[in-house]
């Protein structure tokens, strides 16, 4: 299903087993949930004893056990299928059309299709267990006039099956919109069982509410279009339609409380099993992992923290390593000692140097990104009017994580106005976009999809604000699906369209002319309401996108500042002292960039609270968390070192800023 045979040791040794454990638990939890479902779905007020004995009898029947087995299989299948969709950096579409493109992306279509199919399968199992009028797709019926017994279509069964498909699709759709597959890290550390226990109630509530919404939408949909699948199925399977029973797409047919109750219960069951898998996976994968700081054996060197931090291919490992760094710097003096220790022989602080270097490069990368964004965006919060052909609807995205060449949709859309090429060809940021070129010209060498957990975030410097409204961030994924994705059912991305690199390389007369055409078309289209609606930048989205991976920066800041303040008393050899100026100046320049960014419109507006959904919306407030963590980090250093900091050489402006911090005036 997905590639565990990745080169990265961490995926092989740790994440794989965590995933398997989480799936195992969701399978273990399935039978009790199914029993509850049977109890609820066969509930009858008037015959309680009959109901209970019936349920107990049913639970031991062969058909129930078979459907239980099928349900387990479905859960396992879906869980393994979903593994490649998990990500630690959310994908944030910057405009509606980007969202649309994301939904229509082949990869996403496969996701939806699989969910539809599994939803139908689950609903079939539910129908088998519910029995009664839902039991089979066909039912005997008598023709009114002739009296002969015939095989008719059981519309209730079909109604449930289609509901399963609908819920599967809407789950998959909501997954994109709400970033269900985004794995966020908890703000406090808890044991897995406690975390699970704390979320169970919320999970139940969430699935019940979502199921209610789905049932409502489905009922409306079925009322309007229900006759189409019914006729189609009865025609293909050669089943009659029972005219004596009122059809369900009529008003009278839908006025059936027990039908809706059972639909709601089974929908809740469906969503609950799926959400449970997601929740368990999140809990398992975000559990802190303890990396050794240094190892006495050379072969384990790549599993040590300083080495792991620099890793670029498995993003989850990088995140867990940073989390571990933040935790060790806070809680464990003995491991801090290892960080401050000198190498033997040689006496070099290799551990500290590596950690420090990696954290600082993370921070400076964010600073660069913010500065570039700020330069690109005029003070009104929109893109600068084109010295290049950047459209006003464009929005900055981190090109480090985007693949322009991913889908036919993207390449098709890319030819519409305001595309990425304009800015890439004659952008003001030409030097900045230059590193982008290899990415464009070698589409085949680069992985088709940004593999799960592999990120180019840290690998590439900030590449400037490559603009496109249509290009959504193709988020880094948890597992690499590099070339295997082609064999395991994921769609193939279309190859790079030919004009792209060509246009990139030589801005000839032809491209100039094309450019002008594009301008005209764009001017024309910009006046159309729908186009404006689709292409207009969503407020805040660019800001969110800039800070999408800021959890890493927050940990880097926490880890660094805790280590620095601990070094005041614990660092025997003074290894931290030598790097203090660079740490301070890098933090202060980030502070400046963050301050400037928050002066932009929409940057400091708070997102609305989402009511009840599984989607983790923590990424929406990451920028505030980063701002607070940054300030706290600087204060942690200044309160530890106090007036000694006057002797640290930082540039004059930063010295002034530092003075503000020392006087508690920030």
């Amino acid at each position: 299903m997905f590639s565990f045979n990745q080169s990265c040791w961490f995926i092989r040794k740790v994440v794989r087993w965590r995933a398997v454990a989480s799936i195992g638990w969701s399978v273990v939890l399935l039978p009790p949930i199914t029993s509850l479902l049977v109890l609820f779905i066969r509930f009858s007020v008037f015959h309680p004893t009959h109901w209970l004995s019936g349920c107990l009898g049913l639970l031991t029947e062969a058909s129930t056990l078979f459907s239980m087995f099928l349900l387990c299989a479905a859960v396992i299948l879906l869980a393994f299928f979903n593994l490649q969709y998990y990500t630690v950096v959310p994908s944030i579409p910057c405009s509606r059309v980007a969202l649309l493109a994301e939904v229509l992306h082949p990869r996403q279509c496969v996701h939806s299709l699989v969910h539809c199919a599994v939803g139908m399968l689950v609903m079939w199992c539910v129908c088998v267990m519910a029995g009664g009028r839902y039991h089979a797709l066909h039912s005997p019926c008598t023709h009114g006039d002739s009296g002969s017994v015939d095989v008719c279509l059981n519309e209730y069964h079909m109604f449930m099956l289609l509901a399963g498909a609908f819920m599967g699709y809407s789950h998959s759709l909501m997954g994109v919109v709400q970033n269900v597959h985004y794995v966020s890290f908890h703000i406090i550390q808890q044991y897995k069982y406690m975390r699970f226990k704390g979320s169970v109630w919320w999970l139940l509530k969430c699935s019940a509410v979502q199921s209610l919404y789905s049932v409502r939408n489905y009922a409306i949909l079925y009322f309007l279009f229900g006759h189409i699948p019914r006729t189609w199925i009865s025609n293909t399977l050669n089943l009659h339609i029972d005219s004596s029973v009122r059809s369900l797409d009529s008003f009278g047919g839908l006025c059936d409380v027990s039908l809706f109750y059972q639909l709601w219960i089974s929908g809740t069951f469906l969503l609950l099993t799926w959400y449970l898998t997601v929740l368990l996976f999140r809990i398992y994968v975000t559990e802190p992992y303890r990396f050794p700081v240094q190892s006495s054996f050379a072969e384990d060197a790549e599993e040590c923290l300083p080495k792991v931090l620099t890793e670029k291919n498995a993003l989850v490992m990088k995140f867990l390593a940073l989390q571990d760094l933040a935790l060790l710097s806070q809680h464990s003096p003995s491991r801090r000692q290892e960080v401050f220790s000198l190498s033997q022989p040689g006496g070099h602080p290799h551990n500290w140097n590596a950690i420090n270097k990696e954290c600082l490069s993370l921070l400076s990368e964010l600073t660069q990104r913010l500065i570039a964004h700020h330069d690109a965006v005029a003070s009104n919060g929109r893109a600068k009017p084109p010295s290049d052909s950047r459209s006003s609807s464009s929005c900055s995205v981190t090109s480090g994580t985007e693949d322009l060449s991913q889908s036919p949709f993207h390449s098709a859309l890319s030819r519409t106005p305001g595309s990425v090429f304009g800015s890439a060809v004659s952008g003001v940021n030409l030097p900045l976009t230059a590193p982008f070129t290899p990415d464009l010209t070698s589409p085949f060498s680069s992985p088709a999809f940004r593999p799960l957990f592999s990120s180019q975030l840290a690998q590439k410097p900030w590449l400037g604000s490559v603009q496109s409204p249509h290009v959504t961030r193709r988020n880094p994924k948890l597992w690499s699906t590099s070339t295997d994705s082609q064999t395991n059912g994921s769609p193939l991305p279309s190859p790079e369209p030919a004009p792209k690199p060509a246009g990139e390389r030589k801005p000839s007369f032809l491209s100039q002319w094309l450019q002008n055409r594009k301008e005209q078309v764009k001017g024309f289209l910009a006046k159309r309401v729908l186009v404006v609606y689709l292409f207009n930048k969503l407020p805040e989205a660019s800001s969110q996108a800039l800070f999408a991976d800021s959890q890493a920066h927050i940990w880097a800041l926490e880890g660094l500042s805790h280590l620095v303040s601990a070094s005041y008393s614990e660092d025997k050899y003074g290894v931290v002292q030598t790097t203090l100026p660079s740490i301070l100046s890098s933090m202060l320049s980030l502070q400046e960039a963050v301050d400037r960014h928050f002066k932009l419109p929409h940057a400091s507006s708070k997102p609305l609270k989402t009511s009840c959904s599984l989607g983790d919306s923590t990424y929406k407030t990451l920028r505030f968390a980063l701002r607070a963590a940054l300030k706290t980090a600087i204060y942690r250093i200044t309160t530890t070192f106090r007036e000694h900091l006057h002797a640290v050489s930082v540039p004059a402006e930063q010295q002034k800023r530092l003075q503000q911090f020392l006087e508690y005036k920030e």
Binding site: I187, I188, Q330, F624, A625, Y635, F641, E643, A647, Y664
Partner: protein
């Protein structure tokens, strides 16, 4: 074990107040004498009770004042659901019997009766649930008679000379040594402030526990505005999490915990019937990201008081019943500590976070718990001080001190412990008083008597707090019942403090210490 009988007697004359401690004894004098003993004298403020108009709180509802207006049943039901939750809705349906079918009236009446029965059962287990929000805050607050105190809460900034005072009229004033501007914070939701705390490692963030929510004020220290707009306040609320009676920042400044005696986060039914289990819920907030994680444990029925140990490793959570918990903040597991007599009224941590002192309602002793990382947790609490009633005779008649404890405060160096004793409201010569102990942790932990802190005649201490970063010992800030805020310095040289020149008790001798401090760690050549 120390008891109040060993204390030096309070001053004989009623006009004298405690000025400061020097050379190991408390100095008494007239009110006007207390000045010019420190570099920055914190302003001694006076907020007379009469000048403050308390917010006229519509306690139950102002519905009765308006003309009767008949909405449709649907509208009324929606309103009742919104106002009073499920019970309100059921009540509304039951009472409008002429508009709804009879079976509905009957069934909702039955459900309502059942709910009430269950809630009465629940309330008999946890009597504090019958209190109104205001009374509950007053009951569990660390402030003595909170509801009529002019100063309802007080918070020193952990790093700089700045403090915030919450007054009876629901405004908060901020005093700063470096500027003459005193910003006044007011907000629509800022009602009955029960606790405040400045965020550590931050200059400007103040968390305020209000009646219905948490307010996080961002007061720019450079701003010249005296009335920061309510846009500077961030509102954190969680359904069912009110009234918030206690908050505490983690010493690393990353998390904020808040607690309410009636948190029903489990059910969230908006019922006034309190259909919850006896859950203790602590909300852990990442304030900047507005993420909230509830920590739930069964048993106790709410959380009244939270206190984070200064090293950040443990958190004390007291409940309204005879039980408190000590959370370990690495993996957030907790130990249960059932007390025998009553609920844990107050607790405080030693600076290294290894020792917890607490007192229990209904008992006149102070207990100590010692935690260590190696040998597991402590098995039982030891009594370290006896505060039973003691009589001191003087020229003005006998003075009775002792009794139950309202709050405990330990200074950041771990050398002085202030205990606010409740006293007896009926008796005129048994008023509330602050007893100050010296603490010594080696060779064995013990409390030694230091003296009493007394205010002007007729003024009772209401709340107290040590300044977190006083250079020459400890500085205790006391808010009195007459609305005065005074500061009592204790000049001493701590055990752990490096000091070259003996023990200079008063600041004008301490210039050498300061020279020592201003030596830089780095020399110019190094950098």
């Amino acid at each position: 074990m120390c008891s109040l009988a060993f204390f030096p007697p309070p001053p004989p004359f009623s006009g004298q107040v405690t000025l400061y401690e020097a050379n190991n004894e408390l100095v008494w004098g007239n009110w006007t004498e207390c000045c010019e003993k420190q570099h920055w004298t914190p302003p001694s403020l006076h907020f007379p009770r009469e000048t403050l108009k308390p917010h006229s709180r519509p306690e139950s509802s102002s519905k009765a004042a308006f003309l009767d207006h008949r909405d449709t049943l649907w509208m009324r039901s929606a309103g009742a659901w919104h106002d009073a939750g499920l019970t309100g809705l059921l009540d509304e349906i039951t009472n409008s019997s002429e508009e709804v079918p009879k079976w509905l009236t009957l069934s909702s009446g039955c459900v309502l009766a059942l709910l009430r029965w269950m809630s009465s059962f629940h309330c008999s287990l946890f009597p504090h649930l019958t209190l109104s929000g205001e009374d509950m805050v007053a009951e569990f607050s660390q402030v003595l008679s909170w509801s009529d105190s002019a100063v309802q809460s007080f918070a020193w900034h952990p790093h700089t000379d700045k403090f915030a005072v919450a007054l009876l009229d629901d405004s908060i004033k901020i005093y700063n040594s470096r500027s003459a501007i005193t910003p006044i914070l007011k907000h629509r939701l800022q009602r009955s402030v029960s606790a405040m705390q400045w965020k550590p490692l931050c200059a400007s963030t103040l968390a305020v526990a209000c009646h219905t929510c948490l307010l996080i004020w961002h007061v720019d220290p450079n701003s010249l505005s005296t009335r920061p707009s309510s846009g500077c306040a961030q509102v954190l609320s969680h359904p069912g999490h009110s009234p918030v009676t206690s908050i505490s920042w983690s010493p690393s400044g990353s998390l904020l915990v808040s607690a309410s005696p009636v948190d029903t986060a489990m059910m969230q039914l908006q019922t006034s019937a309190q259909l919850c289990f006896a859950l203790c819920v602590i909300q852990v907030w990442n304030v900047a990201a507005e993420i909230c994680v509830p920590l739930q444990r069964v048993g106790g029925g709410g959380v009244t008081n939270l206190s984070w140990s200064p090293d950040g490793s443990r958190l004390l959570a007291a409940t309204p019943s005879a039980l408190f918990r000590v959370w370990e903040t690495k993996m957030w597991t907790c130990e249960r500590w059932p007390c025998l007599k009553g609920r844990c009224q107050s607790g405080c941590w030693s600076p290294d976070g290894s020792r917890l002192l607490f007192c229990v309602q209904g008992e006149t002793v102070i207990y100590a718990l010692t935690f260590s990382d190696v040998a597991g947790g402590p098995k039982s609490a030891a009594v370290v001080a006896n505060l039973s009633v003691t009589t001191f005779s003087g020229p003005d008649g006998d003075l009775i001190v002792g009794g139950e404890v309202q709050s405990l405060a330990w200074d950041p160096t771990g050398e002085r412990l202030a205990v606010l004793l409740k006293g007896n409201a009926e008796s005129s010569n048994h008023s509330a008083i602050i007893a100050v102990f010296k603490t010594r942790s080696s060779p064995v932990f013990e409390l030694l008597p230091c003296g009493f802190v007394k205010g002007e005649a007729g003024a009772e201490p209401r709340l107290m707090q040590f300044q977190p970063h006083f250079q020459h010992g400890a500085l205790l800030t006391v808010c009195w019942s007459n609305g005065r805020i005074s500061h009592v310095p204790f000049y001493f040289v701590g055990v752990g403090k490096p000091c070259s020149t003996g023990s200079p008790p008063l600041p004008h001798f301490t210039s050498k210490i300061e020279d020592y401090i201003t030596h830089t760690l780095y020399t110019e050549q190094m950098s």
